[in-house]
């Protein structure tokens, strides 16, 4: 270069553009080679790999990639430690989503104090989802605040200084999905729960209010983090997190699948996907799937598969509250939420877990305008001392309450038993109250065999052969309990050949679409849940 050229003023922005490149490259390094290797050794992906694994190829537009702590020598930049949160706009199946997550390779993904939060509780990513009304996906791998922040700030922060108000607002507006991909305690654990659907990876993720050191200090209990908050506890036992994945790849596939049933926000209709499965497909197996012997259960999941669009079922909370099956599916391409009692577990009786599961699923579907289909085989609320001690009655009535407040269309198919308050909670009492039943159906305030002994106690006791008299009364009552007799009185809208179930439901679900369009938008919640 000539002396004259060296002294010439810089006319473009090449030096700054070079600096920008350098800063971006630093952001890509995350916590550095060693920290990333350590993370990989634990069978965990980095936040950038997670985002890439979830979204449509090349669709990530990062926001805030320059955030972090610059290192300077004599005023010259030598490196940047990125902020431990990566986020931005991306596409999943061609639809925009806001996505973000903690970078565990930098200080374990603990909070970072910039001028504006990037994500976690509040922050840009939640503002983006709320402002543009697009789904939010949280990829959680952080342990929240640290007591060391007292040192940094010189004072203790009041709880809620970075609060959940935006997270709560989102619950009524756009789909929120959280994946727990590491050990989540405190704020990030709470953030995971404030979602419409959550998932964790078996073996590599745990979730709890506080981890083993705090538990030992508080209660003297020595417990490892997997036993405290692994998937066995958090998903199967407690239902704190909805679904489990065997690895991160399956987790991302499940998130995509979940979002495929969701509208972008509560002002839009759920997406229709027609796979060409005929609406009038009639499966012969349905005619004999329910055993004539009332004591014998059957495979309710198989029944749902025979009725719904082929391959369209996605079960929510499959390992929690197993007396009830909750699933998204499609009927003639339209999304429906299925609630089906599972006779294989407590004969389908609604226990406290099933009640909680039902309450959440009805509210979820109602919020996103997804019509509900009940496949009913419920003998009532679960009975017994354990059930009473667990507040089954209160949780059960909460499920009934939420169903009565929901305004999305509901369709009731009585497969076998439909008794008592749990049965009532499976109907659309404030809507069309449209109930179709199979010939195997039976209903009432309570099952005959339980009710006779109580209602006819004196008559039975006075009979020469009390047992025989009890059986006689049961037989008399049962002869009048035929579903056809209720159909004569229009107490049930129709009795159908089980093979007609799909066609019948598809007609009505198709017809309800126009009505659903008239009620789009957020759902108001009034009153006090029991």
């Amino acid at each position: 270069m000539s002396e004259a050229a060296k002294d010439a003023p810089v006319t473009g922005w090449a030096p700054e553009i070079e600096e920008l490149k350098f800063r971006r490259a630093e952001a890509q390094r995350l916590g550095g080679v060693e920290a990333v290797q350590k993370h990989h050794d634990q069978n965990r992906l980095t936040i950038r790999e997670r985002i890439d694994g979830l979204i449509d190829g090349g669709s990530f537009q990062e926001v805030g990639g320059l955030t972090g702590q610059g290192r300077y020598t004599d005023g010259t930049l030598t490196g940047v430690t990125p902020a431990p949160y990566v986020m931005g706009l991306a596409s999943i199946d061609g639809r925009p989503v806001a996505v973000g997550g903690e970078d565990f390779t930098i200080r374990g993904g603990t909070s970072w104090s910039g001028d504006r939060k990037k994500g976690g509780q509040g922050g840009f990513i939640e503002d983006l989802a709320a402002s543009y009304l697009i789904p939010l996906v949280n990829l959680i791998d952080g342990s929240g605040g640290s007591v060391t922040s007292i040192n940094r700030r010189g004072h203790a922060v009041f709880p809620g200084v970075h609060g959940f108000e935006r997270s709560v607002e989102l619950m009524g507006k756009v789909p929120v999905v959280s994946a727990v991909l590491g050990t989540a305690a405190g704020g990030p654990a709470g953030r995971a729960i404030l979602s419409h659907w959550s998932v964790m990876v078996k073996g590599t993720s745990q979730v709890f209010a506080a981890g083993p050191p705090v538990v030992e200090r508080s209660l003297g209990q020595k417990i490892n983090k997997e036993d405290l908050g692994g998937a066995d506890i958090a998903v199967d036992h407690a239902g704190t997190i909805d679904n489990r994945a065997k690895d991160e790849a399956e987790c991302f596939a499940m998130i995509k699948r979940y979002l495929s049933y969701m509208p972008q926000n509560v002002w839009e209709m759920p997406p229709v996907v027609d796979i060409g499965d005929p609406a009038d497909r009639a499966e012969d197996a349905l005619a004999s799937i329910v055993p004539r012997d009332r004591r014998r259960p059957y495979n309710m999941r198989k029944l749902i598969e025979l009725v719904a669009d082929k391959g369209s079922i996605f079960e929510i909370q499959p390992t929690y509250g197993k007396a009830l099956i909750t699933a998204f599916a499609r009927m003639n391409g339209k999304v429906v939420g299925i609630l089906a009692n599972n006779p294989m577990v407590y004969g389908g009786a609604m226990d406290v877990r099933a009640a909680r599961k039902q309450t959440h699923f009805i509210e979820l579907c109602d919020s996103f305008h997804i019509p509900l289909v009940f496949f009913v085989d419920v003998p009532g609320f679960m009975v017994g001392k354990d059930a009473e001690a667990a507040a089954t009655l209160r949780e059960g009535m909460r499920a009934v309450y939420v169903a009565l407040q929901a305004s999305v269309p509901m369709f009731t198919v009585v497969v076998r038993k439909c008794y008592g308050m749990a049965g009532m909670g499976a109907t659309d009492k404030n809507g069309l109250d449209f109930k179709i039943a199979w010939p195997s159906a039976e209903w009432g305030s309570l099952p005959i065999e339980g009710g006779v002994a109580a209602a006819f106690r004196r008559e039975i006791a006075a009979a020469p052969d009390p047992k025989a008299r009890e059986r006689e009364i049961e037989a008399d009552l049962r002869s009048m309990a035929s579903p056809f007799r209720t159909a004569e009185a229009f107490g049930v809208e129709d009795i159908i050949d089980p093979r007609e179930t799909r066609a019948y439901l598809c007609r009505f679900i198709d017809a309800a679409q126009g009505r659903i369009r008239t009620t789009l938008g957020p759902k108001a919640r009034y009153g006090v849940r029991p």
Partner: protein, 73 residues
């Protein structure tokens, strides 16, 4: 050889053991039947194997999640 446990999904009582020690079962087969909520709830083998031992007898009460049989696969 790996051992696996068969658990009762429900609280109830053992109504009928429909298999025998030494018997081979396939995944999905019924090992025993628990009576609960006036229903016959099967305990189903999650994977195939040979029944090594029963940990309960007929008419004994069982709790939800209780291991009722051990299988070898």
């Amino acid at each position: 050889m790996a051992e696996c446990e068969a658990k009762s999904e429900v609280t109830g009582s053992v109504w009928k053991i429909v298999t025998a020690v030494g018997q081979h079962v396939e995944a999905g087969d019924t090992i025993m039947i628990i009576e609960s909520m006036k229903m016959e709830i099967p305990v189903i083998a999650e994977e195939g194997g040979t029944i090594k031992a029963f940990l309960v007898k007929e008419e004994t009460p069982v709790s939800e999640g209780q291991v009722v049989a051990v299988l070898e696969s």
